[in-house]
Amino acid sequence: MANHIEFTKEMKKTHTILAPYMLETQFDMLGEIMKSFGYKIEILKNRSEEVVQDGLMYVHNDTCYPALLVIGQMIHALKSGKYDPDTTALMITQTGGGCRASNYIHLLRKALVKAGFPQVPVISINLSGLEKNSGFSLSLPLIARIMACLVYGDVLMLLKNQITPYEVNKGETVKKVEEWKKRLSESLYANVHFSLSKVYENIDKIVSDFAAIEINKTPKVKVGVVGEIYVKYSSLGNNNLEEFLASQDCEVMLPGVMGFMLFKVDNRLEDIKLYGGNPFKKLVCTILFNFFKKFEKAMIDAFSKYPQFTPPMPYEHTKENVKGVIGHGNKMGEGWLLTGEMIDLVQMGYENIVCAQPFGCLPNHICGKGMVRKIRELYPEANIVPIDYDPSATRVNQENRIKLMLSIAKEKL
């Protein structure tokens, strides 16, 4: 029944690994890192209507939209004939939490069997020790580089979003983002010895380089985007939400992925605090947490040097913010972090918020839609619109609701 094909050491040499595309700035660089570790990897960018169709065909239609898209993308790629299924592997994340996302990998395996590719191995990326493959290991050096890559991605994304709407020379920011992506990818590829100080140095360089872009700060509607991680970041998942908001003359703030990484590690500590647990596990998680914090600090420090930029909120601040609103034990999906990010955004002046979730997303009934009332009670200026994403939720309906939120925002401008 369970079709678990191991990704063996031999496969590392022979197989091309296909990975989904979620964080658009980060994932290209991630690919380069994986390559430097000897994996042949390709980030999937196919996004035609057939992707959704394949998802619908091979995945239970009541499953969340991200599963449908990610699996649809992979099956579509395999069916395209571009990859030999005998020398192709797939890679997918597995958070190990109580929401359905931990099961995507199994749904993918079922879909592979259905679609006639039972031989394709699937690698799980997880920090919970859920599945192991002899040909792939999430070693500490790899983790360190992944973190560096994620933080670079966050920095570039935040800068891009904060500068582009105001740049004097149109297109300058995006051009710079691409340049830096290339430069960083190259250095990540070549970087045999990892050093944290190098990361600090790079981030500083990036931020100061972007600070040089000429801007003209006119008042614009500032919109924050929070949500289920895939539809929040992936333009395939959210019908090009960022682009739409840009077209409506907004400045967009997407809180970075660092917070989520810290949140996932911190959850383990929180569990021990709430329910008791193993002191050794506590120690390991604390070390990992503190290590991750260093990346966050690099980013905040660099941003804080320039008054025109809004630095990301420190994780502790976000966590403090939700006290009395939602419990720190709420950890499935984006858990309390999502609520916290909404509050952060309001405090940072991005009080107009799109809360994006797949239709029927279970954790978001609680930490998203379930918390809107309370946030508004505390921050009456909060202007939040929950938007559901789904293969058939039409763009016209989504945009109409966002436009309503924007109309109210513009009134206050």
């Binding site: 239609n61 939602i326 499935m332 379930g370 918390m371 293969p391 058939s392 109309s407």
Partner: protein, 963 residues
């Protein structure tokens, strides 16, 4: 400068022109039938005629279907809710709340205090289109429906969430003989509930309420029901239809040349930006060959006058239509009818029988059988010999056309039934869920909405060049997909073809979900009224890549099958009503509430000829036999009984309230013991009921969360109303570690719903609501952790007492489980002694709540079967490694129960799935594959706020018929 405001909604186009003093100098309200471009130009020309001297206007467009036009004509767009607010601020100062219903949108605007605007989400009916749909179903015009509703005497509960659900509630009411006055009012009442429940989200509607939009303008009865629900009198102002248009006009700030705009709109053609599919037919030759091929599958047809000797009658009393067939001994058709059931099959069939007796007075009906929704009532009314389940009827008929048939798919008006045939017997059954009924009536509704009759509409699709890809979702979503396609410039032809294809995709990918297309086999018979539609038939063949058989009597297959069955089982003479008796046949209907138990079922009592009674709407046999149902073989009843045995004892620490819902159904023995020993008087919330649900409904923030979670709001509200000052409802990420599985989570909703209650239930003010995160999975740490939580509130509690109470609580939980398992074992043994089949009704602990399962447990035992639950057998298999991550405690039991059943000949599993349960998207597939691997049939029943038990009955009978 004069101002123009357009409001292009989903069905209508509204327009106003204002002069400098904001007086309306021109207004228009018209259905646009998707011809948005043409209608807009027409309208602008009318304005030019009416005001020939004005060339320039301030112009803005609003409305959900207006975005496309506004972009192409470079006219500013104003979001419609925002427009309404602008108009209300100008013309209705002093209003507090505005309720506006449109064609497909519902909105509430709170103007006073912190201003808020709410709009229905993606999954929501309860709007104008919904009312239209329901009116069609009742064969009334919407205006007539309003008049009927004003004369109502009672209100039935109808699911208000979406049209599809409501439809499956209305249909059985009609079939049971409820009158249209009451049904009309009930439909309006459902709209009221939907709007208030779905949009208020915890905010109280008070002050001056204003009603706007089409439905609220045209239907005074709807307003009256809103008034009643809100306990105040709202007003419907002059020009209530035009507020969005007025708002658009007021917001208009760009001067435009009207001639230029007209020109721009004329030029506007959204150049096929929608996704398209392969055309159904590319040439008339292709179509001709197709029709020729399908003409082959036919039965000999003769007339009644040809009848010699015995004839056999088959009746299919379906959800929307009544079909009858008479065959002779050579199985040729002598007579057939196909007609709408007009809401009640009894008079229709009476007419048909009269017609038969008139045409052929000396007819010898040797035997007759009835199938379909109306089976029971028809059988009783006319003395029909046999009642058979639909699956059997259809299979019997299909075999006639293709003896070695492997797969039958039947799409009717309301249902979709598919059966897999293996070794000459039905091997698996797939029926559509309430949420995916893309069936015949769905196509019809769309055809009507676009201004066509169904035949004309589907013909239009045959040669469409660019069929729109509309996906495969339910009707509600489809509305917006169609809206989007219209915006993108799709023609009616493209939409028609797209809809036909979506019906097919819905059937294949949502209902059947085969592992591959080949899994259905190559020998396929398609039938049902919907397949008479060539577009649907073609789409099916295209999608499946096979040529199928469509019998010429596709729509009559149920009736034909029933007739064949009657012939085979002939018990000459037939008990069917005689010609004389038919002449004096009388039929009256009345409805009463059963007082047999707390379910208070609404019974419809049909009386025939003043002495024979037929009762429907009941869930158990009590109103018929006047005896309490026999629950000795019903483990659900036993579990409820066990819980009711935990009595409250007065304690020195006062009362602690526990809302009885979700995981509390399993945790109650634990917490009861724990708190009782600590010195609390444990007070559970009362039994769930419709009233209890409605009490909490307005505080539900997410309308797509599962019903069991929504019910929690009512439970907490009840506890507050009882004056309980301490309520205990903890967050629980983890559940007990009973089973060696990957993890032992609760689902996110069960785990964290207390957070939602705390954040949204304003009535909790002044109540100590204890909703801390508690980990019962760590038995050793538990006492310490909970002590910290309780001690701060009740200083007299000691750690020692908590430790003692904890030990007892864990033990009590084990006892409870042991009792359930022991009783399960007993039931199995009894059933085996009596030779009864055993149904394992599987779900979650809270599915034993009668308000959630709608009495399905009683329905099952009424079929003379024994009923046990998954948790009474899940411990009987040593180790199961499902093909998915096995990480939720409740669901781990499902996999194990399923595995166990595959080893038991006399057991079958029926899984209850709450609508909106995301986790079950994973578990259902897995349970199904475990069962199918063990050669067992998987049966799933989706339940929600309201569930159509008629469909459930058919499903259960189909299952039992295969055994």
């Amino acid at each position: 400068m004069y101002r123009i405001g357009f409001d292009i909604g989903s069905t209508t186009l509204k327009c106003v022109v204002l002069d400098e003093e904001n007086n309306i100098v021109f207004s228009s309200y018209d259905r646009h039938l998707s011809q948005i471009k043409e209608k807009s130009v027409e309208l602008l020309n009318k304005i030019k005629e009416a005001l020939p001297d004005t060339k320039e206007y301030l112009f803005a467009i609003s409305g959900s279907a207006g975005m496309g036009i506004s972009e192409s004509a470079s006219v500013p767009f104003v979001q419609e809710v925002y427009a309404t607010r602008a108009a209300a601020n100008k013309f209705l100062p002093g209003s507090d709340v505005i309720i506006e219903l449109g064609g497909e949108d519902a909105k509430i605007l709170f103007l006073k205090g912190s201003c808020e605007v709410r709009m229905n989400g993606t999954c929501a009916g309860g709007t104008g289109a919904f009312i239209d749909q329901m009116a069609t179903l009742l064969k009334l015009t919407p205006t007539e429906m309003n008049e009927y509703a004003s004369k109502h005497e009672r209100i039935y509960t109808i699911a208000s969430r979406c049209g599809v659900f409501a439809k499956s509630d209305v249909q059985p009411l009609l079939n049971q003989g409820a009158n249209k006055y009451d049904i009309s009012a009930s439909i309006f009442d459902a709209v009221v509930n939907q709007t208030i429940g779905g949009l208020a989200q915890g905010r109280v509607i008070e002050g001056n309420v204003v009603y706007l939009g089409g439905p609220l303008t045209f239907f005074p009865t709807l307003r009256a029901l809103f008034d009643k629900a809100l306990e105040r009198r709202g007003t419907c102002p002059e020009n209530s239809l035009y507020y969005v248009a007025l708002g658009a006009a007021l917001c208009a700030d760009k001067a435009v040349d009207i001639a230029l705009v007209t020109e721009n709109i004329e030029k506007y053609s959204a150049a096929g930006q929608f996704n398209t599919l392969t055309p159904l037919f590319t040439s008339t030759e292709e179509y001709a060959a197709f029709t020729k091929r399908h003409k082959k599958a036919t039965v000999n047809q003769k007339t009644l006058s040809d009848a010699t000797g015995k004839v056999f009658l088959g009746i299919d009393a379906g959800s929307t239509t009544v079909k009858t067939v008479i065959i002779n001994e050579d199985e040729e058709i002598l007579y057939s009818t196909y007609s709408s059931n007009s809401g009640n099959p009894v008079p229709v069939i009476k007419n048909i029988l009269t017609d038969i007796y008139t045409q052929k007075p000396d007819i010898t009906i040797a035997s007759c059988a009835v199938t379909g929704y109306g089976e029971d009532i028809v059988k009783n009314a006319f003395g029909i010999d046999f009642g058979i389940v639909e699956t059997v009827a259809h299979f019997t008929a299909a075999k006639k056309f293709m003896p070695d048939v492997e797969f039958i798919i039947d799409i009717g008006g309301q249902d979709m039934k598919c059966f897999k045939i293996k070794n000459g017997a039905i091997d698996n059954i797939y029926l559509n869920e309430a949420c995916s009924s893309g069936c015949g009536s769905f196509l019809q509704t769309f055809a009507n909405a676009l201004g066509y009759d169904i035949e004309e509409f589907s013909k239009k699709g045959l040669f469409a060049k660019n069929p729109v890809d509309l996906g495969s979702r339910c009707t509600v979503f489809m509305n917006s997909s169609v809206k989007q396609a219209q915006k993108d410039g799709a023609t009616v032809e493209d939409i028609s073809a797209g809809l036909s294809m979506s019906v097919v995709k819905n059937a294949i990918y949502k209902v059947i979900r085969p592992s591959s297309k080949d899994a259905l086999g190559k020998r396929i018979v398609v039938q049902g009224g919907t397949f008479l539609n060539d577009a649907v038939l073609r789409a099916f063949e295209q999608e499946m890549g096979v040529e199928v058989i469509r019998p010429s009597i596709s729509a009559l297959m149920g009736a034909y099958g029933a007739a064949l069955y009657a012939k085979k089982k002939c018990k000459n003479p037939s008990t069917i009503i005689t010609e004389n008796a038919l002449k004096s046949f009388e039929h009256t209907v009345k409805t009463v509430n059963c007082s047999g138990c707390t379910n208070n079922c609404l019974l419809t009592i049909n009386t025939f000829d003043n002495n024979r009674r037929f009762i429907s709407g009941n869930r158990c046999e009590r109103p018929i036999t006047k005896k309490s149902p026999d629950n000795s073989l019903n483990l659900y009843a036993y579990k409820n009984y066990l819980l009711s045995q935990y009595k409250s004892e007065k304690g020195n620490l006062g009362k602690i309230g526990i809302p009885m819902g979700l995981n509390m159904y399993e945790m109650y023995p634990f917490w009861h013991k724990f708190f009782t020993l600590l010195g609390f008087e444990v007070v559970p919330s009362p039994k769930s009921s419709r009233d209890l649900y409605l009490k909490g409904q307005s505080t539900i923030p997410s309308d797509t969360v599962c019903f069991p979670a929504k019910l929690m709001h009512g439970h907490v509200k009840e506890l507050c109303d009882m004056g309980i000052k301490t309520i205990f409802y903890p967050c629980m990420t983890y559940n007990f570690e009973d089973i060696a599985s990957d993890n032992h989570y609760n689902c996110p909703v069960v785990a964290y719903y207390p957070e939602v209650i705390e954040s949204n239930c304003t009535f909790l003010e002044g109540v100590d609501f204890i909703y801390n995160y508690i980990g019962i999975h760590r038995k050793k740490d538990f006492p310490k952790k909970i002590f910290a939580i309780l001690h701060s509130r009740f200083p007299s509690i000691t750690l020692k007492a908590v430790q003692k109470a904890s030990v007892a609580a864990y033990r009590e939980r084990d006892n409870y489980l042991a009792r359930v398992r022991a009783r399960g074992k007993e039931i199995i043994e009894h059933a085996r002694e009596e030779g009864k089949h055993i149904i394992v009704l599987s779900g979650r602990p809270y599915h034993i709540d009668g308000e959630i399962n709608h009495g399905i447990d009683k329905l099952i035992t009424a079929f003379d079967t024994a009923l046990i639950s998954e948790d009474s057998i899940s411990h009987l298999v040593p180790d199961v490694r499902p093909g998915v991550l096995d990480q939720w405690t409740y669901h781990s039991r499902l996999y194990r129960a399923a595995k166990y059943i595959t080893t038991q000949k006399d057991m079958d599993l029926v899984q209850l799935v709450s609508f909106g349960c995301g986790v079950d998207a994973i578990t259902t597939d897995e349970v199904r594959s475990i069962l199918e691997e063990g050669n067992k049939i998987y049966t799933q029943i989706k339940i929600d706020e309201i569930t159509n038990l008629g469909a459930v009955k058919i499903r259960l009978r189909s299952l039992l018929a295969t055994l």
